[in-house]
Symmetry: C2
Amino acid sequence: MSKSIKKEFNRENLLNQGVNLFMNQGYHGTGLQEILDAVNVPKGSFYNYFGSKEDFGADVIQHYTEPFITQLTAHLNNSGADALGAIRCYFDELIVELEKNEFKGGCLLGNFMGEIGDTSEVCQKSLQSAVKRYRDLLQLGLAQAQQQGTVRLDKSAEEMADLLVNTWQGALLRMKIEKSSAPIKQCCQDLLGDYFRS
Amino acid sequence: MSKSIKKEFNRENLLNQGVNLFMNQGYHGTGLQEILDAVNVPKGSFYNYFGSKEDFGADVIQHYTEPFITQLTAHLNNSGADALGAIRCYFDELIVELEKNEFKGGCLLGNFMGEIGDTSEVCQKSLQSAVKRYRDLLQLGLAQAQQQGTVRLDKSAEEMADLLVNTWQGALLRMKIEKSSAPIKQCCQDLLGDYFRS
DNA sequence: TAAATAAATACGACCGGTCATATTTTTTTA
DNA sequence: TAAAAAAATATGACCGGTCGTATTTATTTA
């Protein structure tokens, strides 16, 4: 009993540190040892929790995504009659967080798509499902906004959600090398503040 | 004389293979040995050509970018009175090429921005300059299209060029995990075929 | 005590980078 | 111009360290 609690505790810690280190140093740039040291788990124990580094990576992807889904869902639920405002508000929060981090890291999903999105089948599957969940939620919000009359009807919510996700990811890459939040702010303004408006 | 020719030959080969391997396996996922084997250059010789792996990476970035600048410039020069058409035509060619590669690799600039864009100062500088060159060229084309009346005037060419670059990069990431050209086609249609039009 | 889980250790392969030495190429000198 | 000296380039063995993983040992749990 106390053991399985510890096991879950270690697993959770490993996933949290995996998110941090993978996001800032990339998949191949981060060694297992580094993650294990950060959470004081012996090297030999790792394979009791995860099948391989690759499997671990796939789990980290899902673990990373969860809070974003939760956060966006909360905004949409509390938005009342302004789903578009909720989406803008959600992204504004992300921007604040990214500025806090001085534009380092960006988004684990984007970084992993670029680095291992086409070489690790396991992680590719995980990325597909994570991005789809996220995209679907944005699509839901945009569809609500369409019903509320704030977003144009002549483009599908799905198409706009995809465009938003993709432009956001590209803007995050620019942010990282320009060390500026201008690209991600521009992304929100261009799409949510202009192109999507009815 | 014949020696310095060989030197340039080796350098060029190393850069070419560097582009290939870095693009498909990432920076940390590619060892120097792998590149050296591919071009039959001994390990010890590498450091006669480049100061370090990091410096090499920065040079690879520039080497990768050159052909894209050339290709886009050519399209713009031959476009006559339809700069927007030239840009679309250019991206269509890129799409064909990406489909040929079965959506593997994507864009080295995007991949590197995500993986090492905020950890390697040398490569960050190189990425900044490469992306700026590319963005500026697109901006020039869009400004021409504005003068020709095919592109809206109420947004600056610079802003649109940035949006195009960013959305394209994000769409490439999606392409990699979806193994489909739909995202990049959608990018062109949404921006060049709709949002930018006057 | 038997089975299951955790931890320690061991493993070979590979990492980026260095170095002394060998070979050219270039420059200087006669 | 020919010989000698100096500088530049080429090379592969080798460095310490780290990689991801397998195997072995110790510890819990049932």
